[in-house]
Symmetry: C3
Subunit: 325 residues, 3 copies
């Protein structure tokens, strides 16, 4: 539930030595916005460094800093995912600390393994705060048919204590229906600001793997109170939300034999279902990933932003080189 | 004088390789305050990561960041203890950098080895700034009868330069009178704000170890000017102080054979000796430590806050899991 | 182009293991200013920690945080130099990320290998921002006669995105004319604030090595717009600049057989060439470096500040102990 796909401190890291493993990744990026006048910049997307390891047989830990100036409130380094996991029982692993809310396939995808540079708008806007303090129960792994996660979280995000007694309940479960199809659902029932006002969020997801073709999609519906200060995911600017809001995406990618993976994604986000004209947006992302080796990845995306009401010149070209260590 | 009990880079770390050792610890915590309405939150207490090591025979170094959002002024990661030590002569080790003021047994206790989750109020309020820039002379170790520390420090705390020419003198000495009894004293004479106004602080301490029972106590007296901006220890909110103030605690713990260590602590703090009624507080802490192994510790405390003048509903329940790496 | 002299991940680090290498250094310092009243403080100069390594044959990475509270805007830890390098062709290495602008010998000198504690005023004031986001081409190494660097950079410094489309071009080339003489030049043509206003900077340098004696000097000329918010190098307070400004230094050092290296430096800086009387300053630095071993260095400097118009009592004594790891 940190930024890694699997549980921290997997056996492949030869953790028997019980030494902390230094790890992280850096995403160096060039962005061009086709506005008038245009904008362009070199920047970082994510820049993470941390340690993880095993504290004897039944406990592991994960401790990661985000150092990108463009994620977080101040631009300095801060603690992002950090938790202690009691993993004696693979169907009831318990994690205490800060980590991602277990909601949505794309949010759960490690930040260095996203197929497009940005997560979908709906994931960044509605699964917010994406990271939170809490205690969680986790079961399954990449080889099991069923995977589940259930967490009790502050609901206020990182860097702050909870300001109410009620905790948010967040959960997600996925099931491999067949060899090529996985279905899943997520929910969150929380108290973003006070003990009296609530927020309910639901999500559905599917993932299909047919030889080299992967198709995945998600729909997220959200209603009730929300915390403007919690921010959007991964540095996204949070937008004003109405009482009810939703969004969805569908994404297809194909692994070619040249380590190049073309990707296409269509998505929409509606910040206020009751008021159709304002804020509704669609986006198409066209791009490819080139895996130089398992540590270096080049990611190129063109984002066609589509505003149905009043068009804005805000298409973007993004190119990113990532190194993992 | 960092967050470790012993000198950084002890031989058990097989430092002959002269490689920096990555180390740290994470304290994940759940707090419940019995106020009306109640408050509860998941959070971190401390989240530290750093390196230490040896630079050939006579020099060692220690470099640690505090990343907990709840300690320090901004919530981001910052450098806390960092110093270079010339340790050729075990009776005159010299350290240059930032570290804890050598004052009080409880302040000197490594933050991951405290018997209760919080230090005593008097240590957090009067030994402030707990950490400072300076140069110090240290002698003795855990096996010697005598231990002493004497430091010349800015007196302004971390993150700022000194604003006056005079430096603070801080010192502490302890002596093992018998196998089971250690007595000690601390003093500080400083210039918290200007070259003209001074502050004087004195402390006395004892520690008794009788088989599995440990009892320790301290009294601290402090008078004169103080720097409101220096903050309290470990994220404690500094209170207004009068011209003279003092406080004390006594704490007993017992090591049972089940790796459970019950602890009881009684303490008082008087921020203004001349005005008895306002601000005076007592606290009783009842709790236990459970050492799962030498890296994982569970710490549970109930804090009964006693205000003698006007009672406030502010008792607290604290539960912490700590991993060291 | 990070804080290391050579490329990150040199073979001497036995990088075949492809493990990230933890490295950094700490500079603990005591400063005394001969003002009236005097000022003195213990503090850090730089406190850096990071990782570097190799991602298979043709890629290396470098990821370093600055944690000194006295460099940067907020006092907290932040990402400073971080880049991914494609180094298959030693005459056309490509780096993407944040690093120093390739301008001036003294700016290029690793921060832990400076001969005087401070860089020259002209380097700190006119090669600003000293660090920036960009993409660069690098050729040569310490054994080749020619070395060159050419970078396309935001021109806005760290922590912010570029606010204009045009990128700055920065370059430097050096050539070993004979065994003992190296000549070099630097240029920068940039857009500090908008697409319309430009800045042009030129620099010339020489370095002579005659047995144990080293003499180096630089002249830097700069004109046009500049960005006040970009700050001076290494925590230097940026001064107001006129339309044209320049500065120079000459520095001599001598390696004695006792590991002591005396150093003398003379420099001047003119923030506004057209207005001679205001802001013009000269400085003489007298000091020595004592290399205890290759990880520990003591550096002592006396800075005689000379204001030709109105004299100010601001001479400084600086003493620094540095540990590298």
């Amino acid at each position: 539930q940190g930024c890694e796909g699997d549980m921290p401190g997997a056996s492949s890291d030869s953790l028997n030595a019980n030494k902390p493993i230094l790890f992280g990744y850096l995403q160096s990026q060039y962005d061009y916005t086709f506005s008038d006048p245009g904008e362009s910049t070199f920047a970082f997307k994510r820049a993470r460094i941390g340690v993880r390891g095993r504290a004897y047989d039944d406990f592991s830990y994960y401790f990661m800093l985000e150092t990108s100036p463009f994620i977080g409130s101040s631009g300095d380094a801060y603690i992002m995912d950090a938790f202690i996991t009691y993993d004696k029982y693979s169907w009831a692993k318990i994690s205490l600390g800060s980590y991602k809310q277990p909601f949505s396939l794309e949010v759960a995808t490690p930040c260095h393994s996203l197929v497009t540079i940005d997560r979908s708008i709906v994931a960044d806007q509605l699964v917010a705060p994406q990271r939170d303090f809490g205690i969680g129960l986790f079961g399954g792994n990449q080889y099991t048919k069923l995977n589940y996660a259930l967490a009790l979280m502050n609901g206020r995000g990182l860097g702050v204590v909870d300001n109410n007694t009620n905790k948010d309940i967040v959960g997600r479960a996925t099931y491999k229906v067949t060899n090529f199809l996985t279905l899943g659902g997520s929910f969150r029932y929380g108290y973003p600001n006070t003990n009296n006002t609530t927020r309910s969020t639901f999500g559905g997801e599917f993932a299909v793997v047919l030889n080299n073709l992967k198709v995945q999609g998600e729909y997220i519906y959200d209603e009730g109170d929300y915390n403007r200060a919690a921010g959007g995911g991964c540095g996204a600017t949070p937008v004003e939300l109405g009482e009810k809001r939703d969004g969805a995406y569908i994404m297809a990618s194909y692994d070619t034999k040249w380590n190049v993976q073309p990707v296409f994604k269509y998505e929409y986000f509606d910040p206020n279902i009751d008021v159709k004209k304002i804020g509704y947006q669609e986006m198409m992302t066209l791009g490819f990933n080139y895996f130089v080796n398992d540590k270096i990845r080049l990611q190129v995306n063109y984002q066609a932003h589509i505003e149905t009401h009043i068009n804005v010149d805000n298409d973007m070209f993004l190119a990113q080189v990532q190194v993992k260590f």
